[in-house]
Symmetry: C2
Subunit: 293 residues, 2 copies
């Protein structure tokens, strides 16, 4: 039994006439009759009640017809879809991103990509930058939005946006009165920042910035998520330097201020060059449109 036999069977079940069914299959009647007989023999049951004048489906035949139609339909669709998946028009794409990208470029990227590739299912994975890098290398992600400048192994990369650090403090904090803050203003403050194990890019930038006048920064708390940092600052537990893109709509009681010579960093789309998912190139095309605009 193979798909050809199933097509023969369906043809006969639909026409109930050996000659017509054989013609539909582009063959002559005798070998067609033999194939039907062979099907019934291998399946071990009569599918047609027939004499030299009439052909009718048996109960088993009716049931098998339903199944054959379903199987053939899915089979044909699968064969057609292979090219679509291979060309990247259809399929699945696992996209990782760090939380602070969720509020800037990721929504735009996802929207543009979904328009360009509506049949590719985007699986979004929010992770911290170090996990993202590991997952990219292991192939558990096809692409990711994260900080640029990673010295990682063969990653194809394109710039999505640039971001810079900005100060957030409680509304009644003494630094809230300043128009712009500098490194010396932060010297005596309790700083809140994610540990280097989570996002080395941000942590290094903050440490270097604060340390520039020779003062060792005091990191009071070290949560993993930028959102937690904002909440803790709002609770009056310290101040923080966070990406500007996260300052758009701060909670009540928080204010943000620019800082002098604010460290900048790239937000990039990257994919392991080894990732052979054909849905990825279109993502880079969209990303370049975003980064260039």
């Amino acid at each position: 039994m193979d798909t050809r036999h199933m097509r023969y069977f369906v043809a006969l079940a639909e026409t109930l006439h050996f000659g017509h069914a054989a013609a539909r299959m582009n063959m002559s009647q005798p070998p067609f009759s033999r194939q039907i007989a062979a099907i019934e023999k291998t399946l071990g049951a009569r599918l047609f009640e027939r004499n030299s004048r009439n052909v009718a489906l048996t109960a088993a035949g009716r049931h098998f017809l339903e199944e054959c139609r379903a199987v053939l339909e899915r089979f044909d669709a699968a064969c057609r879809d292979v090219q679509l998946v291979a060309s990247g028009v259809k399929g699945e794409l696992k996209l990782g991103f760090m939380m602070n990208a969720a509020y800037s470029v990721v929504p735009a990227l996802v929207r543009l990509y979904s328009e360009k590739r509506p049949d590719v299912r985007l699986v979004l994975e929010e992770r911290i930058p170090t996990d993202i890098e590991e997952m990219l290398i292991e192939g558990r992600l096809d692409a990711a939005v994260t900080f640029g400048g990673s010295p990682a192994t063969h990653l194809r990369t394109t710039l999505l946006a640039r971001d810079r650090l900005r100060l957030i403090v409680p509304r009644d904090h003494r630094l809230a009165k300043l128009e712009i803050a500098g490194p010396t203003d932060l010297a005596s403050e309790r700083l809140i920042a994610a540990p280097a194990s989570v996002t080395p890019t941000l942590r290094d930038a903050i440490r270097n910035y604060c340390a520039s006048p020779g003062v060792v920064p005091h990191f009071a708390l070290e949560p993993r998520l930028q959102h937690t940092i904002i909440r803790l600052v709002a609770e009056g537990l310290g101040i923080a330097l966070i990406p500007q893109s996260l300052c758009a709509d701060l909670a009540e009681g928080l204010v943000s201020r620019p800082i002098l010579d604010a460290p900048e960093f790239d937000i990039v789309l990257c994919a392991s060059a080894a990732s052979s998912n054909p849905a990825v190139p279109a993502l880079f095309e969209v990303a370049e449109r975003l980064g260039g605009g």
Copy 2:
């Protein structure tokens, strides 16, 4: 492409080794490699990324693997099921029955049959006896529970139960005082009965019973359903002779009484001899157990 090719593909996708996959398919490696190449050629896409050392699935291959597994599983199940359907162990059986059988033998019949043939889906069709006969002949029903004595064409028949007519009247009706009623008691009453076009068996029995002393019965109302008849009697619109089996739990305000020399009739299971549904014989086996007990 046929199912054999799909099995080859799945074998290679699971082992990622041409030699091992070929062995699993009980063949040697060279023709196996050729078949894989042929699959990729006909599908128009690479399914495996391979060199002389490593074999890996492409994105298209991963997608196709899912589809192949699903298709093969359903295909194999369909082939297996053919014998089961042909032997009557699995499948579908359309069973018609008249409403007054619903409260006597049908529940028992359905329960016993479902125990004997759990994989046969019973499709129950409540119809009036005349429709049942027509549907049986046309093959729209495989079997049915209806009144016996039909002179219809080649119907295989077995007795399920015997029923007799019984009188129902409102609780405060003058006939409610009698222990047992005779034809003469009914002479001046407004009778409610289904028309002959719905159930000739009952209608004839009632007319003959009432007419026996030479009195023409007065049929006040002629609804199609026995349940409607009971409701109308409860509303005081007349009295009725209905099958005893429907008198089990009458509504408040109704009482039933036996009648002298009550007409009896058979309730039978019947199937068109032409019906070739292999699930039917087991139904008759169950029915004979019911009828004999």
